[in-house]
Amino acid sequence: VKVALFATCLVDTMVPQVARATALLLERLGHEVVVPPGQSCCGQMHVNTGYRREAVPIVANHVRAFAGAEAIVSPSGSCVASIHHQQADVARRAGEHALAEEAAALAERTHELSQFLVDVLGVTDVGAYYPHRVTYHPTCHSLRLLRVGDRPLQLLRAVRGLTLVELPAADQCCGFGGTFAVKNAETSTAMLTDKMANVLSTGAEVCTAGDASCLMHIGGGLSRLRSGTRTVHLAEILASTEDAVSPQQSTKPAMSR
């Protein structure tokens, strides 16, 4: 399959290793990866903060950037959920019906990474090796908007060397919520504290998830506490092999080429 990779604005700008890992993983599985250069953002932050009119040109850019792509994959549950549930709506509300149609059509070809691997490619064992104790946080939009279910866990269970430990109260939000994290910083932090307590109670070295944004939140809190537990995106774990895996993977991707 020729896969167009949507890195997302946050991953592209702040944690490029997550997009790189996604590309490496897909290539290792025998697929051609392209990175459309016109891509920026899905528009979710604008829509969810109330700037739905201002989101329309961002949606238009996204649709332009990925026009003609047969399959689009993104390492972010919430961005894919926004593409599926919000893009066409905000376009339609602004009277941009042609754009809404295009966005809806594009959404049908857009997949969250774990769903693409398990449902479209039909693989759960991606040949990864990751010798660490890992706990998985099912991010809210992956869980409740995309219904990724246990797909990420199926993928993690097939990783050699990985010890998977269950996260207590896993389905509770970490408190990120986009601009919620700053508009309601105190409540967000209270939610984060409970999430971190649960993560730390597992004794895991690594907390993983399918959303770089939630991981930046959880990881930002764990780092502030000087805890030894770090956050690593699911794509980075799945991209790791015996030849390229490192305990420092959270900040330095092992798989450079």
């Binding site: 604005c9 991953v11 592209d12 700008t13 702040m14 490029p16 997009a19 790189r20 990175v35 250069p37 016109g38 891509q39 920026s40 953002c41 528009g43 604008h46 829509v47 969810n48 903060t49 109330g50 700037y51 739905r52 201002e54 989101a55 040109p57 961002i58 850019n61 950037a65 919000q86 809210c140 409740r144 908007l145 939000c173 408190g175 990120f176 919520g177 986009g178 601009t179 919620f180 994290a181 700053v182 508009k183 309601n184 910083a185 105190e186 409540t187 967000s188 932090t189 209270a190 939610m191 984060l192 409970d194 930046m216 939140h217 990881g219 930002g220 809190g221 780092s223 502030r224 900040t251």
Partner: protein, 486 residues
């Protein structure tokens, strides 16, 4: 004279309890510091969450029931005017009197007048959100009428001179030691040896209330449902105190929001299954009282139904937001909400707290009067999953944020930033430049993996409690383009 349409009226200011004195973030900042509150709420919501999950999980056709509930509500709202007229006809035909109140002020006036006409100066009350919403107790008090709350939790709140913080369990923020203290301090003739054993506390309340039930000539209730085709009112409760109020006094006054009706008797079948499992986590609630008009020689001989709008028609006019009117006040969304669990109900400022309150209160009052509430959610979606009538609360929250932003006439710094970012993110060339500028942030880190914690506002809102990673020297798309020769 020409008429100018000024929009459908919302709930008036200065009466009732739909608006707080503080914004949600400010109120939450205070309540988050209350360790006792956090412990009480954490304990209570996790207990009730587990109970609900168990009894919902055992119903094989829960998804279909939920869809039936949603569909009945949607169909009812589409022809609400017709159903209301039918309800009035049926209630009247069965010996009741129907009163129409445009808003809280009118409703309070109507009820006060009705109570005064009986010549009494005290009433007993069934737990009711509608009367809390309109501030009826305060209105009655101003007219020299004492209103006694008879629901145990509502009584605790009233005796403690407190405010309700939950739709179903108004005193959820209090633990039994605090309740014992309130009873000892405020209940006339209470046994000074009262312990905090739940049974002893309930017995003290029972003795206190029994006297009032036997004395009262007027009762005031809300309603969970009204059946348009039969004129039947329904109150669903756990304690039986509602049943006492609904049957013992001579006069019964029921105050009900216009959205609470269902068209047919058969519709109750769906909601009487959805409601108890979602609210108290019980298969069936202990008491369901149903009555239509008056029955000679049995129960209240005078029955008044006060139908209140108080902003509901304005909610109905919003094609996205109107779904909030489907709410059956089960409070399942509060119990699963991570924001509610930590900030507590008082932080919402309105009698309707939690996720449903965050979409209902701003619509009843107009968004600008409760502008912080639509933002009081991380949009995690747990509320939508738990809602027995499938109200898409996260989508309504996002919609109301849009309404708020679009209602501004002046450009805030936030709006200016979002508008600029929209221009940048819709133009790949500008976006690459902006990403490069963001990458310069790495110089602030001076080689460390995270940025300094002391960043200026608004970044400080993040960095006060969380580290920010140092931006990389090159973005992914930049690296990729270089490696792939573009």
């Amino acid at each position: 004279m020409t008429a100018v349409f000024l929009g459908i009226p919302t709930a008036p200011r200065g009466v009732g309890h739909l608006r707080g004195d503080q914004s949600f973030p400010d109120a939450a900042r205070e309540s988050l510091r209350d360790g006792q509150l956090r412990a009480n709420l954490g304990h209570a919501t996790s207990t009730i969450r587990a109970k609900r999950a168990a009894v919902v999980g055992e119903v094989p056709d829960w998804a279909q029931l939920r869809e039936a509930g949603r569909a009945i509500k949607a169909a009812t709202m589409a022809r609400l005017d017709e159903h209301l007229i039918a309800l009035e006809e049926q209630v009247t035909a069965r010996g009741g009197t129907v009163h129409w109140a445009r808003d809280a002020t009118e409703a309070n006036e109507i009820v006060t007048r009705l109570v005064q006409a009986t010549g009494t100066d005290e009433v007993v009350k069934v737990k009711s959100m509608a009367t809390q919403e309109i501030g009826l107790n305060e209105a009655l008090e101003a007219a020299g009428i004492a209103a006694h709350e008879t629901d145990l939790a509502e009584l605790i709140v009233q005796l403690g001179d407190d405010k309700p913080s939950h739709i179903l369990v108004p005193a959820i923020h209090k633990n039994r030691a605090e309740i014992r203290e309130i009873f000892l301090r405020t209940m006339p003739g209470v046994d000074p040896a009262l312990t905090d054993e739940p049974r002893r506390l309930a017995m003290a309340a029972r003795a206190h209330l029994r006297e009032r039930f036997l004395r009262a000539r007027v009762a005031i209730s809300g309603a969970n449902f009204a059946v348009a085709e039969t004129g039947t009112l329904a109150v669903v409760e756990s304690e039986g105190n509602g049943r006492m109020c609904l049957t013992l006094p001579q006069t019964l006054i029921t105050v009900m929001g216009i959205e609470k009706l269902v068209p047919t008797w058969r519709d109750l079948e769906v909601f009487l299954q959805l409601l108890p499992r979602s609210s108290t986590g019980e298969r069936m609630n202990p008491y369901t009282s149903l009555w239509a008009g008056v029955t000679p020689g049995d129960g209240p001989q005078e029955f008044h139904l006060v139908l209140i709008d108080n902003g509901r028609t304005a909610v109905l006019a919003d094609e996205v937001g109107r779904e909030a009117l489907h709410c059956i006040r089960c409070s399942a969304c509060l119990n699963v909400c991570p924001v509610y669990e930590r900030a507590g109900g008082h932080a919402y400022g309105s009698v309707y707290p939690g996720p449903i309150g965050a979409v209902l209160s701003p619509q009843l009052t107009g968004v600008e009067d409760n502008a912080s509430l639509p933002y009081a959610s991380s949009l995690c979606g747990a509320c939508y999953d738990a809602c027995p009538v499938a109200i898409d609360i996260p989508s309504i929250l996002v919609h109301l944020r849009g309404e708020h932003v679009e209602a501004q006439t002046r450009t805030s710094p936030e709006a200016a930033a979002f508008r600029a970012l929209s221009k940048v993110m819709s133009n790949p060339r500008l976006w690459r430049l902006a990403q490069r500028a963001a990458g310069l942030g790495r110089f602030l880190a001076r080689g460390r993996p995270t940025l300094p914690a002391a960043l200026p506002p608004p970044a400080s809102k993040w960095t006060r409690t969380r580290d920010l990673p140092t931006p990389p020297a090159k973005t992914f798309t930049q690296q990729w383009a270089e490696e792939h020769g573009r």
